[in-house]
Structures are given as structure tokens and as C-alpha cells.
Point group: C2
Chain length 422, copies 2
Amino acid sequence: MLQSKLFTKTRKESPKDEVSKNADLLIRAGFIHKEMAGVYSYLPLGLRVLKNIEKIIREEMNQAGAQELQLTTLQDEANWQKTGRWSDEVVDIWFKTKLKNGSEVGLGTTHEEPLTVLMREYISSYKDLPLGVYQIQTKFRNEVRAKSGIMRGREFLMKDLYSFCKSEEEQQEYYDMMAEVYKKVFSRLGIGDRTYKTFASGGTFSKFSHEFQTITESGEDTVFVDEEKKIAVNKEVMTDEVLKDIGLDRENLIEKTAVEVGNIFTLGTKFSEPLGLTYKNQDGKENLVFMGSYGIGLGRAMGTIAEVLSDDNGLVWPIEVAPFQVHLITLGDHPDVLKQASELKDHLEEENISVLWDDRDLGPGVKFADSDLLGIPLRVVLSDKTMEAGNVEVKKRTEEKPIYLNEQQAFDGGIREHLFGK
Amino acid sequence: MLQSKLFTKTRKESPKDEVSKNADLLIRAGFIHKEMAGVYSYLPLGLRVLKNIEKIIREEMNQAGAQELQLTTLQDEANWQKTGRWSDEVVDIWFKTKLKNGSEVGLGTTHEEPLTVLMREYISSYKDLPLGVYQIQTKFRNEVRAKSGIMRGREFLMKDLYSFCKSEEEQQEYYDMMAEVYKKVFSRLGIGDRTYKTFASGGTFSKFSHEFQTITESGEDTVFVDEEKKIAVNKEVMTDEVLKDIGLDRENLIEKTAVEVGNIFTLGTKFSEPLGLTYKNQDGKENLVFMGSYGIGLGRAMGTIAEVLSDDNGLVWPIEVAPFQVHLITLGDHPDVLKQASELKDHLEEENISVLWDDRDLGPGVKFADSDLLGIPLRVVLSDKTMEAGNVEVKKRTEEKPIYLNEQQAFDGGIREHLFGK
């Protein structure tokens, strides 16, 4: 894409009324737009990032055999009355509104109830289980405070997966499998090395649930990390008894602040019982379906990536998440430079490398500063100077100094190699 | 995909309380699930259809140079007060809800207001125009009655594009260009031959707007069609004067009922004026931006396709919209048949042809009836019988009788050819 055609622009000043680092950076780079506290629109570059995150998650969920569907925002009171979760006194983050006939409906904060009800039509036999079903869908949560940018929104995109199993044992297997899938997701999102599977409080049906906590100074949670075992414990549940239970030694733990980017939870029969989701076993006997839930907030993941990987000059996107992979910058308007840029862009795009070409009539200072702010993984500069020298300037966003490839190397896999590593 | 793994199943009985043909068919085929009147979840097969429609629209909008973003559902009252569209007496389809601090927010029914406000940050010069911006996003409309299945939802996915131009003339050019893009979209959606660009009532800034009306008996609109010119007029605006104006002859017009699947509208300065969206022209003078809007309802398009193309036996999906392109049906469980099916599936998928393999242990009657109900474009049958004869049975959903390809033909482009035509 030509940057001159992109309607968004960067800005130098931080937005007013924005205390979070992620929203500050993303607004200055033109990735998002604040509609109100905790409610953000996604502009073209931001939407590209969000769609890349969505693609990674979808691929991994499909790979794990889960089936995608899409539930609705508008929620029927009846389903939630049965589980006791309709009352604002029990769930204090509901948005509610009314149909023309006066009946109240809610905006989905989560979807255990409608999905459990839906599944009554499709699950009847042990042969239908185990089953994993997920959606990537907008949730609404009426947060009192929403000061964390896209990391805690009143309206946000979430992947929520629900597992349906015959027994606690089968559920545990699914749970362990999905925990591994989550590790892969966070690794592809570029935050795997600082994201810990973390013991957190469980429910009626399990001692613990697990959060995936990404270490960051701005995190809302406190966790104790065992760096060697790549495991953490949420402060909320950390007692000597728990540590003994999970085989961790207090001496090896380091206190850190972190943000929860995902969580997995054993629901047991909490929803299948009140909503009547059963299956017939091999003897023809009715049993309750044993459930689990698995969430990842997409906006929160994007905000976390923005916060933890950025530096003083701006955003730093991991390669699979970046809005474009290569930021091609031309300096000056020499026809030969523009011709070379056009050819290089075509060449890279043919190799499925996405390119944003900064073709704007601006000086190198402004262009380089913008490039750092946007955070595209690889910067490639073409100018009179490189033309004369017969080379191409290439620099990763995370590198201090550029390297120079000769023109043939650049067209012959050199850029790809520098981008992806060998 | 293996049909035995798909969690949805077909059903024979029509759902109760469902008067629309599209919802009846789509529910029986397991494509959608009714949450409440006008509110439907999309199950895996239905979501695949919806995503295919989304892909077609996105490709065509991008091809036309429009930039994608994603605005929010939650709407700030302030923007709508300025245009006089906040009051329930003016806009009677609002859903409204409240933040914890008591302030009222709306659920977006359309997005002219927030986008115009957003664009004030990015449009300042004539150099920024013309510009087309679109989103594919969920709208909420508090309809009194919602009896048309997914063709008129209270919650539905819509593509809305907005154009920003320097002048009425530039807007007209954009409008005419987009009208052609719409024709291409509806053609790819498989309803191009029965969808008419239709003159409808305009506004302050144009004599007419245009609807894209698809002829169907269940349509809510009455249009008069000139089949030769491939143009129609909405009954609402049909007068002798209008006919003269647009060069149509009453004698050539046929009255039909139709459903509106898209519309394009000149907004002029209706929103840029109250919301203050201006640009500086070449002389440095401030001018109001001249706008247009362009909508396609994705659920409505899907419902329309379901209604107009289906037959007594079930759904009939056009090739680009279908959840899968080939429905591979194996009869019996002879290992050679299963081996051949597995190879054929791999072979087709390598050619980017999507395959649903009905591997269920059921008789041909049930399988064929299900296949007709699901409406996948090409049915391929493998059985002991075809194995013995060394051939493969192939039938389009729209054909009465199958043809037989020998095994080599089937693996050598014969299936692709029958699916796509030569």
C-alpha cells in the first residue's frame, strides 16, 4: 500500500485524557480512535493488526479441531435467570436495553448460557463428545473505570472457546491440550517469552484455573514467577499449601506485575445442570455434560503487545502481528529510485511479504520518525545515495544500525532473510 | 471437513414461530440458530457462508481503493445530538443503554455521525480527497416486528462505506463507480441476474438514491422493472415525471416484488455541516466535504440468496458463497471406497476446492436428502457400485441427473470442470 493514500496520519502530541501507554501510542500512530472511555474504533493499520491476531487465533483453534460459530450480542433474559446471572447484583457489568415490547435484553458479557442452551439441540449422545466450539465476537462490559486503553474495554473483541466433554477426565485432557495451544498462540503473537501459565483460583469443579499472564510494569495483577519452570502463581492464591500442592518453592519465585492475556477454566456442570445439557452414555443413561471455557481478549492482546514491546520511539510489532512486514521508504523523487522501489514492492508482495511504501514527499527525519512510531518490523530505504552505491539499506525495527544489501541480494531473498532470520 | 465431526445436524421439522422461508431453511439445515425474533446465531456452516459473503465484499471494496476500518457499537450521544438524530422520536429504532455514571449511550444503527467526527482528525486538505472508507460491522436496530428471518434483523452484519469528496461532481463520479462495483458484488453473490439497480427517493442533495433490488415473491418492496435496460423504479417514486426524467417507458415496465439488498445514497453536506467536516481547497479556502453512503446487509444478502435460489428440496448455494464447494458422499464402508474418498478429498483440497465429506454411517436416502438440504454446489458420490464400474458419480445441486466420470477424469480436473464450467 502507498502511504500517501493511507488516510490516517501520525501525530506528535499525546491525546488528552489518555493515561494508558498502549492507547497513547496507538492513537499517535493512527491505529485506533477513542470514541469514549474504553470504547475504541480501529483504523486501517490497527484493524490490520487486529485481523492478524484473529487469524493466528483462528488457525490455532481450527488446528485443535474446534468449530467456529458466532453467537449474538443481544441476550434473552430467560437463559440467564436459570443460572442466576441475570441480576445486576450478581453480575455488575451488564449493559441492558429494551425491545419495543418492553422486555429487557442484555448485551453479551460472555456466552456460556446461550451456547449451553443452543447445544441442547445438537448434543444428545456420548458420540457427540468431546467437542470444542469457539467464536471471535464482540463483548460488552459496563466497567466503572476504563482507563487501560484497549487492554480493558467496555466493548472488545474476544475469542471464547467452550469444551463439552463426557467426564471430568475427558475435560482435563481437553484442558491440558488447550493450554499447550495457548502457549503456541502467545508465542506467535510475539509475547511467548514473557507470558506465563499461572495458577489462579478455581471454582466448584477444580482447585485451580489458569491465567496466561504477560509480565509488564503496567499490569493490574501481581504474580510470582518461577522462571526456570516457566510457571507462575497469582498472588491471590499463593499460600504455602498451594505452593506445596503445585510443587513450587517460594525461594525460586520472583514477584512481578503482569496482565492477563488469556484464561482457561473448568466449568464442570455449572451451566449444563441448570440449563439441562445432557448426553446419553453407552448404557442409555442420561449424564450431565462436563464443560470448560477458554478466553483470549484480542484487543487486550494487541494492547499488551503494544505496551511490552514498544520503546521510546514507538511501537514494535512482531512479524506475524504487524500491519505490514516491510516499511519501504523512498527519499527524494528520482525516477530511478521510484522505479526500483516499485519493482522491489512488487517483488516482495509476490513473495507474500506485505509492504507499506512511504512515497510521501517528506524529508528523511520525518519519515524515519514515523517509521519508528508505526513499528513495522523491517525498514528498507531507497534513495539517490543507495542508488549510487548500488545497494539497499535494511534495518529491523529492533536494530540500532542498518545493514546494506547489494541490489541483487535484496531481490534475491536478502530482505526475506533479514526479516525472518535464516 | 468430515461431516461426522460437524456438530450441527439437519432436522426435518420446521421450527415453530418461524414464518420466513430463509430462516426455516437455514435452521433446518443447521446454518443458524434463533436466539429471539430478529436475532440469530451463525453455526459453522452458516458462518462459512457469511464469511464468504464478507470476503467477496471486502475484496471488491479494496479493489475499488476503499480503506477498511471498524467503528464501535457504543455511541456517544453528543455526536447524534448535533445532527438531530439522537431523539427516539426522530430515529425510532435506537437501542439505548447506560454507562455506570448514568450517561446514556446508543447501539449504532448506522455510522455517519461517528465517522464524520473521526474524519475531522484526518481530512484537512483537498489533497486528502476523494476518499472511500468502509467497515463490515454489526448494526443494532430495534424493529417493532422482526419476522423476516435474517433478512431483517435486530442485530445484523452490514458493510457500510462512506465517500468523502471535494464536490458534488466528484461525489457523482464516486457514486457511479461504486454502483458498478455493487453490480459485480451481486453477480459474485450469485444473484446478479435478478438484482436491479433501482431508482428510489433521494434527499436534499440528489433527486434519487439507488437501491439494489432482488426480485423475490417474499420481498417487502414493489418495483417496476425494465428487463431490457436492467433498471427498475421503486413504486414509491414512480410518476410520469420521474419516468420521463430517467428515460423509461411505462409500457416496458413489469411490476414485481423485491427485496432491497443494497443501497447507495448521496449524503451531500448533511453530516459534514453540523459536524464541521471541512477541507482547504487550493486557494486555502475552507469548504464542506461532500459525502455519500453505500450499504450492503450481509445477513440480508445471505437470506435473500437462501430464499431466491432454493428449491423444494432445500438450499442452493452459488459457488463463491457455498459453505463448501464439493459434497463428497461415500456409501457403505468398503475400505477401498474410503481410501478413494480420502485421496479425492486431499486432491481437491490441494486444488483449493473445499470439501465436506459425508462419512456418516447412514443410508443413501438420508444422505442425499441432507445433501440437497445443505445445498453444496457439487455432489460427488463414491460407493461399491461406482468402484466396481471404475467411475465417480457427479451431480450439480441444480441438475436433475448425475453424470459419471471415470476415475482418471475425476482426478484429472473433471470435477473442477463440472463445478466451475469450462
